[in-house]
């Protein structure tokens, strides 16, 4: 067994230091060592997107990143994207549009779609579909997910100064 390595990462707004083996993926460390289980392992080889996180702001599959690679870098997970006392407008729209069923793919879709909206606040439907093509959902048929993302974009454009998120009991 190889020796463990000390890794310091800016994780969800905090400096986090952890020990890991080089063979451990970021997903494994998030879930097993750091207790952040919002990122899901749906396939383990980059086909489903349920483990998506942002690495230095770039969307990646955390199952295809070695945890040691994140030393000195910034990682944002679904836990870090979610504000402490309310939902993101995008999350609220997922609720309103019933854009989730079993919910295993949902954190990955939220992370992906949020990354899209930050880079392209007014995507076309084609752009949304292309962006989400790496996220698999087996329950919804995707239509309500696409509507939720487009509706989020529209509502943010209509009222850019104010978050449309309502207070939701957490």
């Amino acid at each position: 067994m190889s020796s463990k390595v000390m890794v310091s990462t800016h994780l969800n707004g905090q400096e986090v230091t952890f020990l890991c083996e080089p063979r451990q993926t970021l997903l494994e460390v998030l879930r097993e060592e750091l207790g952040l289980t919002g990122s899901k392992e749906g396939c383990g080889n980059g086909n489903c997107g349920a483990c998506n996180v942002l690495l230095d702001g770039v969307l990646v599959n955390s199952c295809l990143v070695l945890a040691v690679e994140t030393d000195g870098r910034t990682v944002t997970t679904i836990e870090g994207l979610t504000p402490p006392d309310r939902l993101l407008p995008l999350q609220q729209k997922f609720l309103e549009h019933a854009a989730l069923q079993c919910g295993v793919c949902t954190p990955g879709f939220i992370v992906s779609a949020q990354a899209l909206l930050e880079q392209n606040p007014q995507p076309t439907e084609g752009e949304v579909r292309r962006w989400l093509a790496g996220n698999l959902c087996r329950c919804t048929g995707y239509d309500k997910i696409v509507r939720a993302v487009l509706d989020t974009a529209q509502s943010l454009a209509g009222d850019p100064a104010q978050d449309s998120a309502k207070e939701v009991g957490r």
């Binding site: 190889s2 080889n45 690679e69 084609g126």
Partner: protein, 299 residues
């Protein structure tokens, strides 16, 4: 995954030394091929050399005269997101944009796509069509290899022990240049090509005569296939449906596919023909300025 050591050198020399000392080391760039392969036990390197901290491998420079310098560790999203590069090489960039979904694009690299040497790799036929050249560092000094000679068999390349792919050079597109890449998959997005076809050509000033052309195919041979004779046939010919059709037929002739889970040999032969014709048409349109680099999914 098996246990291994991890190092992240900051210079080409250090990387070459590490690779040379540990004969079985694997280079980690985007990891989108290597990490699944290690998970499946198909590769068990004792040492993983992360090359993303080496400045030369992160270089991405486009100059209308010098062409494109593409560092081997540059992730796809940087290339696809670069408007100047997308305008200069629409055929190459659309091939690169097909390497996985957005989250794969955030990690995967063209260098990795090349070094993984899959016969079905999307970027390689387009690189071949665009006359790209690999720049390699190694214990015996640097050398260059045209992309069409880089892959030797599924998963195998010309890289000798200790050698490292540093960057890829793509010549500047001459005037009236057009390129295109298309692949066929059973899904509409996100899959490994059943067949891929890349083409690049240069027309005369009036857009009527093909001055030069290069065509390459993916997933129809043990390595990405440069169909030199199809391009040679086109050189000097006026653009016509018949001429493009004949080049497509030559591509079909050249294809030596196998039957596997993703498709039969007969279907792949047929698709070689169809896709070659389609990319040639698209390349001609682009060379004539008739199509403004419309990309996959961007309507």
């Amino acid at each position: 995954m098996h246990a291994f050591e991890y190092v992240a050198p900051h210079s080409v020399d250090d990387a070459v030394t590490l690779l040379q000392e540990s004969g079985d080391a694997q280079v980690l760039s985007g990891g989108t091929d290597l990490i699944p392969q290690m998970k499946e036990g198909r590769r068990r390197p004792p040492l993983v050399v992360d090359v993303k901290h080496i400045p030369e491998l992160n270089e991405l420079v486009y100059d209308p005269v010098e062409g494109l310098w593409l560092g081997a560790a540059v992730p796809c999203h940087r290339i696809v997101g670069n408007g100047a590069i997308a305008r200069a090489y629409p055929g190459l960039v659309e091939a690169i944009s097909l390497i996985g979904g957005i989250q794969i694009q955030g990690r995967a690299t063209v260098g990795g796509n090349l070094c993984n040497a899959s016969p079905a790799a999307d970027s390689i036929p387009a690189l071949i069509a665009h006359r790209a050249v690999c720049h390699i560092a190694g214990p015996k000094g640097p050398r260059t290899v045209p992309v069409e000679d880089f892959c030797t068999a599924p998963g195998e390349t010309v890289l000798e022990p200790g050698e490292l792919l540093v960057k890829i050079h793509v010549p500047a597109p001459p005037p009236n240049h057009g390129g295109a890449y298309q692949r066929f998959i059973p899904r509409n997005e996100m899959d490994i090509a059943v067949v891929g076809a890349g083409a690049a050509l240069v027309l005369d000033e009036r857009g009527q005569v093909i001055q030069q052309a290069r065509i390459a195919l993916g997933a129809v041979a043990p390595r990405p296939l440069f169909v030199e004779e199809a391009g040679a046939f086109l050189a000097g010919k006026p653009v016509s449906e018949e001429v493009l059709e004949e080049a497509a037929r030559l591509a079909r002739e050249a294809a030596r596919p196998i039957t596997d889970m993703r498709g039969t040999a007969a279907q792949r032969k047929h698709l070689s023909h169809v896709l070659t014709r389609r990319v040639l048409i698209q390349a001609v349109q682009r060379a004539r300025g008739e199509e403004a680099g419309r990309r996959n999914g961007h309507v």
